[in-house]
Amino acid sequence: MKARVFVTLKNGVLDPQGKAIHHALEGLGFSGVNDVRAGKLIELDLADGTSDADIEDMCRKLLANTVIENFRVERAETA
């Protein structure tokens, strides 16, 4: 069983990395980009039967820093 955890910066938290990517895109001539926010994708290969609550616990205890980050879990039973 696999799960994907998407970790993103909370709204309002400055994202210097996203800003740099935005700047680089503009430098390449892509003028239609309004904003860029960079995040992380963490793929977990889990024992069958791992509960949503367990995954959420992993996110809160380690995968995301909830002071500055949000997380979203996407489960894929067959991946």
Binding site: P16, L62, N65, V67
Partner: protein, 222 residues
């Protein structure tokens, strides 16, 4: 004063901190590996050093914060043992939750390695007692993730409680309210990005960091 310096894989300021502590206290600190589950008996001061623990994987300080020894450090901090986290150590202390907020990538994206001027905002805590109120001092910084952030309510609270220990005189890294170092609510845990242990003797180009350790020693021995 019996002190301990925590060592993670990737720590690189542990020796500097040990040398500084030995010079000031006259006693070599115990170097404590991250896998230890207990601190040496009778430890009176704990230093969490700078560096790149675990290669800054996931987030700076994130992996180190979950290492076995940090549970012992958290317990000791709860008993009132003074703890200092410098640079990566500050990142580790925020990741453990011993200090509020988080340290993000520098706003200018560059690694910063230079001297910075700081103001001692609160000269009444355990770590700043040997400085004058509002004194201006110079410590070096060497970091990529020193941009201190917390929500407005948290910032207001730590400001209101006098928990901002050091403030940058210029905003070098994007830190909210120019915060360079803060203490916890009971005042025995300090985290700061600049490096006091690198300005201990004249040959370092400055000695402003020495009084941090001297003040602490005096309080602990009092």
């Amino acid at each position: 004063m019996k002190s301990a310096v925590i060592v993670f894989p990737g720590s690189n300021c542990d020796r500097d901190l040990a040398v500084a502590l030995e010079q000031v206290t006259g006693r070599k600190p115990d170097m404590v590996w991250h896998k230890e589950t207990e601190l040496p008996d009778g430890v009176e001061f704990i230093g969490v050093p700078g560096g790149f623990s675990y290669g800054d994987y996931l987030r700076s300080g994130a992996m180190a914060a979950r290492s076995p020894v940090m549970r012992a450090v958290t317990d000791a901090a709860g008993r009132g043992v003074p703890v200092i986290g410098i640079c990566n150590g500050f990142q580790v202390l925020t990741e453990t939750g011993l200090l509020p907020g988080a340290l993000m990538r520098n706003a200018g994206l560059n690694f910063l390695g230079r001297d910075v001027r700081l103001r001692v905002e609160n000269s009444q805590n355990l770590f700043t007692a040997a400085y004058d109120a509002d004194e201006e001092i110079v410590f070096p910084v060497a970091h990529h993730d020193g941009n201190y952030q917390a929500d407005e309510a948290t910032l207001d609270r730590i400001e209101g409680e006098g928990r901002v220990a050091f403030r940058y005189l210029e905003n070098i890294n994007g830190s909210a309210r120019n915060i360079a170092g803060i203490v916890n609510d009971s005042g025995n845990v300090l985290g700061l990005m600049p490096h006091p242990e690198r300005v201990i003797e004249a040959a370092h180009g400055g000695t402003d960091g020495r009084r941090l350790f001297e003040g602490l020693l005096e309080t602990v021995n009092a």
